[in-house]
């Protein structure tokens, strides 16, 4: 053991993590400029480049999935066919088209955007940096999982060009066993994406176990790592179930084996059990990493220690555990036994508790903090508000008697958009802004950032609050046309989606503009103290010029702001 490591161990023993106090070297090429050939990107083993490639892919898919959302919302502006007649002649073909649009929107957003968004794109970039490591534990596996994602995405592109998919993203049988659309390529695509997800999860688990720097014990890790770790465990344990389920469905479609289709002696409800055994944990695969981001955003931009560290850490772990025990609440009206519904309803409430704990701890972190209300922080605060609505409306769905009424209505649609998009994606965008200077070395326009965040926030609520109301009034989901009494709500919702889209396009515009003419980012523009803020922006190829010791990620007292450079510098600790 070398001397610095021994020192770090000693520091750990006294409960004080040693500070990395040497000035950060910003000389030498960054990971972006060290090599410039195409193959140096295509065959890179650098987690940062893989993260950036994931990010580009995920953002492109977000654009695609978002376009389908806008098509759906535009069509629903009126109960009459208004957009589909441009593409299809008969009323039947128009309804088919609408079904393809909402299916494509859902499948792309879930499998290609939200699930890989935070862990694979942002997580890949940030995780080794947070650990002070050179890379993830298995760089080749990491590149492999990226290419699996690409292949999975290509299957979806193929689906788009071969007649689309109309089963809904859930592939419910027996409809998916008989649908004439491109179900098989879509299943293969999701199957491959599953492996991408498993490999990423496995990689992160090993990285967090084996590559923490000297002095970083489990309870000194940044909370984002706790969240990614919990997520990785879920990915590794749950995704194989999805794989095998889709494989069975594939066999059913191709060979006519009766597993889920009652005409061949199968059971459609069995498919729902299998599907949600994965897809419920998947909901938390989509939301727990964003929660981790928000823990970082709120603490850093409040310049205050995160409140209730252990409670937040354990709530991530308990959400991961409970997430495996609540899948049945997607099936309250499917005809499964009364006893089972009661048990699932009870356990479902237990997921609400750790979520509530997190929200209150984030708010307590803001109390008496020094809040910088910049774009990332605004996204963080938006997250708390939207997640509160998403979580509270989840209570309605967990109460059996109420769920009987609101199941499969727009209430559910609004609820899961508040959780998946209003929380998951908003935190992703917040995290993107938070780490953008580190990734690109450029600062974006705070002015436009705040305006875009406001547009997204207002647009989002305008889109989905009317959906809660029309849902509880009895508007079923996945409807191409609807009763006239719901028209007003749908129109508000559609207008909201345009406002939100404007916000996202504005975001794309100023972020791209920052790449071209943004101010050069300092090492530590926000005043964070986790290890990624102790290296150059953008970091060099192997992240750190000197292997750093662990810092206390939530100790902001030794940081001094330099208004000239916009940098927070670490004061020397004697």
């Amino acid at each position: 053991m070398s001397q610095p490591e021994m020192d770090a161990q000693a520091g750990e023993g006294t409960g004080v993590a040693s500070q990395t106090d040497a000035p950060v070297s910003t000389e030498g090429p960054s990971y972006l400029t060290v090599t410039k050939t195409f193959s140096s990107w295509a065959f890179t083993l650098d987690h940062k480049r893989i993260g950036v490639m994931y990010l580009i892919g995920v953002l492109f898919m977000f654009l695609l999935g978002g376009m389908f959302a806008l098509l759906v919302r535009t069509e629903l502006f009126s109960p009459l066919a208004i957009l589909t007649p441009f593409f299809a002649d008969t009323a039947e073909a128009q309804a088919d088209l609408y079904n393809r649009w909402f299916t494509t929107h859902g499948a792309i957003m879930v499998f290609l955007v939200i699930i890989p968004g935070v862990p694979a794109a942002l997580g890949n970039f940030v995780l080794p940096l947070l650990l002070g490591a050179k890379d993830v534990a298995f760089p080749r596996l990491n590149l492999g999982s990226f290419y699996l994602w690409v292949i999975g995405a290509l299957f979806f592109v193929y689906v788009l060009f071969s007649g689309g998919l109309d089963t809904g993203w859930t592939f419910y049988t027996p409809y998916s066993a008989e649908s004439g659309t491109a179900v098989i390529p879509a299943l293969v695509g999701v199957f491959i994406l599953g492996f991408s997800s498993i490999f990423t999860g496995l990689n992160f688990i090993v990285t967090i176990h084996k590559m923490r720097p000297p002095g970083m014990t489990w309870f000194k890790m940044p909370l984002f790592l706790w969240a990614t770790y919990s997520t990785a465990v879920m990915q590794v344990l749950a995704t194989p179930v999805l794989g095998i389920t889709l494989l069975l469905l594939l066999l059913e479609r191709t060979l006519g084996i009766g597993i889920f289709d009652p005409r061949n002696g199968g059971d459609p409800v069995l498919f729902q059990h299998f599907f949600w055994f994965y897809s419920h944990p998947a909901v938390y695969i989509m939301i727990v990493p964003p929660m981790g981001i928000v823990s970082e955003l709120i603490a850093v931009h409040s310049h205050k220690r995160i409140f209730g560290y252990t409670y937040i850490a354990f709530s991530s772990v308990s959400i991961a555990i409970f997430s495996f025990l609540v899948w049945g609440h997607h099936m309250f009206t499917s005809g499964q036994s009364t006893t089972m519904n009661i048990i699932f309803s009870g356990i479902t409430f237990s997921v609400g508790i750790p979520s509530a704990i997190k929200v209150f701890n984030w708010i307590a972190t803001m109390y008496k903090g020094a809040l910088s209300l910049n774009t990332s922080m605004l996204y963080g605060i938006s997250f708390i508000f939207l997640f509160t609505i998403g979580g509270l409306t989840g209570l309605f769905c967990a109460v059996l008697s109420i769920d009987t009424h609101i199941h499969d209505t727009y209430f559910i649609v609004a609820h899961f958009h508040y959780v998946m998009m209003g929380s998951g994606l908003i935190a992703f965008v917040g995290g993107l802004h938070h780490w953008w200077p580190k990734m690109t070395g450029k600062m974006f326009s705070e002015f436009w950032g705040r305006i875009a965040c406001t547009l997204v926030f207002v647009g989002f609520n305008l889109t989905f609050i009317p959906q809660f109301v029309m849902g509880s009034l009895g508007m079923p989901r996945r409807y191409y046309t609807y009763a006239d009494k719901f028209e007003g709500y749908h129109q508000l919702s559609t207008i909201g989606s345009y406002v939100m889209a404007a916000g996202f396009f504005l975001t794309a515009f100023y972020l791209i503009q920052s790449l071209v003419s943004g101010k050069k980012a300092p090492v530590n523009p926000w005043g964070g103290n986790s290890l990624e803020w102790h290296t150059a922006s953008p970091p060099p190829l192997e992240n750190f010029h000197n292997v750093p010791d662990a810092t206390d990620p939530y100790d902001y007292e030794n940081l001094e702001y330099d208004a000239a450079t916009g940098n927070y510098e670490t004061k020397k600790v004697s």
Binding site: L80, G335, Y367, S372, P476, Y554
Partner: protein, 370 residues
């Protein structure tokens, strides 16, 4: 609490919930508003804290926090404990209401609701009559109102005319037991005003029950995605004021006017028994072959059933109705459910198909090349 219950147990629609007209509506709405007010309380609390903190603690870059306090045991216990207690209450209310929904009484009226792509059929145990949901006709009225062909009053009248022989009819004040079935894929029976919903699963039977509280006409939807016609698959529930009125209706609605010409009764069968959702009569493309010009045309069959060819005659039509999987016309999916028609209904339908133009053994079915 009693006052609150009285206020909430109203039949008029509120801003959040539709009219409440069954024995379950009151309890469900009470649970809904309990969770609603708890949620509003926490949403207001959290939003207020966020806004106050954003205002009060906002600082320019470089400022240091006033405090670095990072834990407070009592606070953690409070905000863990209160949600746990509230969760238990919510779970308990939901459980209580749900168990009632799942415990049908032994008496009452039994009706089978069978869903198929994309129609409802309601069979009444007392006289065996099957009454269709008539989604197509109800949709037509909706379209005509939108295009201005029908005024609102005319629409009500036209709808009333259709519902004389269509829809789910129940008497007020008596338990109604509905057995749910599906012929092809998943569907779900959803009556918002009654707060009842359950999936119709092929190969299984499901049950719901309710007591309707107010006479009137209420919406009935399919709530589980079932493909192309999902959003067209709605019908109406008609609540009669007395059992006598209901029984009188059932006797009339369940019968055909046998004095009508065969093909006219055939057209009624086509609409009433759901043939309309897959078979057009004007040659337009639907899930199944159009009936226009079908009689006497050459049919060729896929290997899914018995392969081969023949000219469509009476026997072929009867076989196709009774055993739809026996002969599958080339180019069409093997999806037709078994709809149990009576001898007379089959006769009338056959005559109706004949009346839609006959071929003298020449025409090919349009999708043969596919």
């Amino acid at each position: 609490m009693n006052l609150l219950v009285t206020i909430l147990a109203q039949t008029e629609p509120t801003y959040w919930l539709p009219e409440a007209v069954s024995n379950f509506a009151g309890p469900v709405d009470r649970d809904f508003y309990f969770v609603y007010w708890v949620s509003i309380f926490f949403l207001v609390l959290i939003s207020a804290l966020l806004v106050i903190f954003m205002w009060k603690f906002r600082t320019p870059p470089g400022a240091h926090a006033q405090s670095q306090r990072d834990h407070h045991l009592l606070l953690e216990i409070t905000w863990t404990g209160i949600p746990i207690i509230l969760s238990f209450m919510m779970f308990w209310y939901g459980y209580r209401g749900y168990v009632d929904m799942m415990t049908p009484p032994n008496d009452g009226i039994s009706i089978v609701a069978e869903a198929q792509k994309w129609a409802w059929n309601f069979s009444y145990a007392s006289n065996g009559a099957t009454i269709p949901g008539m989604s197509e006709d109800l949709n037509l009225i909706r379209d005509q109102v939108r295009s201005g062909e029908l005024s609102a009053e005319q629409a009500v009248a036209a709808e009333g005319k259709i519902l004389e022989k269509a829809g789910l009819h129940v008497p007020m004040g008596i338990p109604i037991n509905i057995t749910l079935m599906a012929a092809d894929v998943l569907h779900a029976l959803y009556i918002p005003a009654f707060r009842v919903k359950k999936d119709c699963v092929p190969g299984r039977t499901g049950k719901i029950w309710f007591i309707a509280d107010e006479p009137g006409i209420y919406d009935l939807y399919c709530a589980e995605y079932c493909g192309q016609g999902h959003s067209w698959m709605h019908s109406k529930v008609v609540v009669h004021e007395t059992v006598e009125e209901y029984e009188k209706w059932l006797e009339v609605a369940g019968s055909y006017d046998e004095s009508l010409p065969f093909e006219e009764n055939g057209e009624i069968v086509w609409k009433r028994r759901g043939c309309i959702s897959c078979h057009s009569v004007d040659g337009s493309e639907k899930v199944g072959p159009s009936w226009k010009g079908l009689f006497g045309s050459n049919r060729s069959f896929t290997a899914t059933g018995t392969p081969g060819e023949l000219v469509a005659n009476e026997a072929y039509i009867e076989e196709s109705i009774r055993f739809p999987m026996n002969k599958i016309t080339e180019g069409y999916p093997p999806q037709m459910p078994v709809v149990k028609l009576t001898e007379k209904e089959i006769l009338w339908v056959t005559e109706y198909i004949k009346s839609l133009g006959q071929n003298s053994g020449g025409a090919e079915n349009p999708r043969k090349e596919n």
